[in-house]
């Protein structure tokens, strides 16, 4: 399966929790339905927050990629 390319990026590197998860939930409604948001984050805690929140709030979590200290989330509105 090939993943769609993101339409927007939210770079939250350097920001601690809860801000990456909160900003992700605030930004997603600004996308058109079907568009894809890429969130880049180096707060490891986000692994327990962003995926669960995205699903709970009705978005599709397409991918979580863990690359050392950086985690990349791909979420479709």
């Amino acid at each position: 399966m090939t993943l769609p390319a993101p339409d927007f990026r939210l770079d939250m590197r350097g920001e601690p929790c809860p801000y990456p998860a909160v900003a992700t939930l605030e930004m997603l409604p600004r996308l058109m339905p079907g568009q894809v948001l890429e969130v880049i984050c180096d707060c490891p805690q986000s692994i327990n927050t962003i995926p669960v929140d995205a699903r709970n709030h009705g978005y599709d979590l397409l991918e979580v990629q863990q690359d050392g200290p950086t985690v990349r989330y791909l979420i479709r509105r």
Partner: protein, 403 residues
Amino acid sequence: MDWLSFKQQYLVRFWAPVPAVIAAGVLSAYYFGLTGTFWAVTGEFTRWGGHLLQLAGFHPETWGYFKIIHLEGSPLDRVDGVMILGMFAGCLAAALWANNVKLRLPRHRIRILQAVLGGMIAGFGARLAMGCNLAAFFTGIPQFSLHAWYFALATAAGTWVGARVVMLPLFRPPVRLEPVTGAHPLSADQGRAARRFRLGMLVFLAFLGWAISRFLQSPTLGMAALLGLGFGLIVERAQICFTSAFRDLWLTGRTQMAKAIILGMAVSAVGTYSYTQLGVAPKIFWAGPGVVLGGVLFGFGIVLAGGCETGWMYRAVEGQVHYWFVGIGNIIGATVLAYLWDDLAPVLVTPFQKVNLLTVFGPQGGLIATLVLLALALLAVLAWERRFFAAKALQGQMVKEVP
């Protein structure tokens, strides 16, 4: 399974938080049975503050608070001290395995203020309540001490206020949504990942060897060090965060960590109960206004800081500079409380009874009461989740109807 996939799956990838918290509950029950005390960190941090004052020429050992929590010896001679060293070693090893150590500098100056101030308020509140999320909550409730229930409710209230405050515009510098056409390139430096992994193994094996040699001389201290290593691995690898368990109920309606913690406490309560029935005395503290005030301050402080006394430990070794300031704030706040204790305690703390639920309701009744209260807490979390998302759905409908 070959070594590479074992390493990737169990040592590098994050662990699922729910089983990890339950495992922490089991380990904390063992810890109680084997060392006679509960899994706690703040008391030891307060002693570090005391040692620093001694180095500066003061005599904190004459203060009432240090007479209660004892300031004799060095961290290496104390159960809490070697356990915390184990936790730091475990956190560091786990973070290195996953190449998750990186100097992360705060993006905004306001975060430093948040970290120090939040850390101080949380440290002060935790010690006023005789423990942080561990001694007064995660391991306090399974000790059947009534004060832990007061603390839990007060902390929930404090985190609610904190969650309102950290969302103020002051703490929300604008973030930018960038239009892009392709994925962000990942910079996987395999050479560095491999070097970090080896370093992590070195830390892990060196501490393990030291702890085993301690265990052969002094079973209690050695076991405390070994269990500390286990706690450290668990909290870092699964990113266990007590702050988010409370705070994110209010902010995003996420209940996963809160539910996991309640289950972990239920498991731990049964384990602790079995040891009390074999004659180990549980740790019971005063259930009065001090613990309520301490809980509110603690709840507010951990949300402002972004992490509690356990949370800053693994984040600090991951290189999150923000949490170095939280740690410093914690030690300052706890030391200030120790200094003021002799004035505060006769009013807020010591006139009130130490209530052991196993004595009040009898051993069986106390266990049943604790499990019933935990079940009620779980139901309350589920009801809150339902309400949160029902309100959100309603709001979404209204937005759609307006244009």
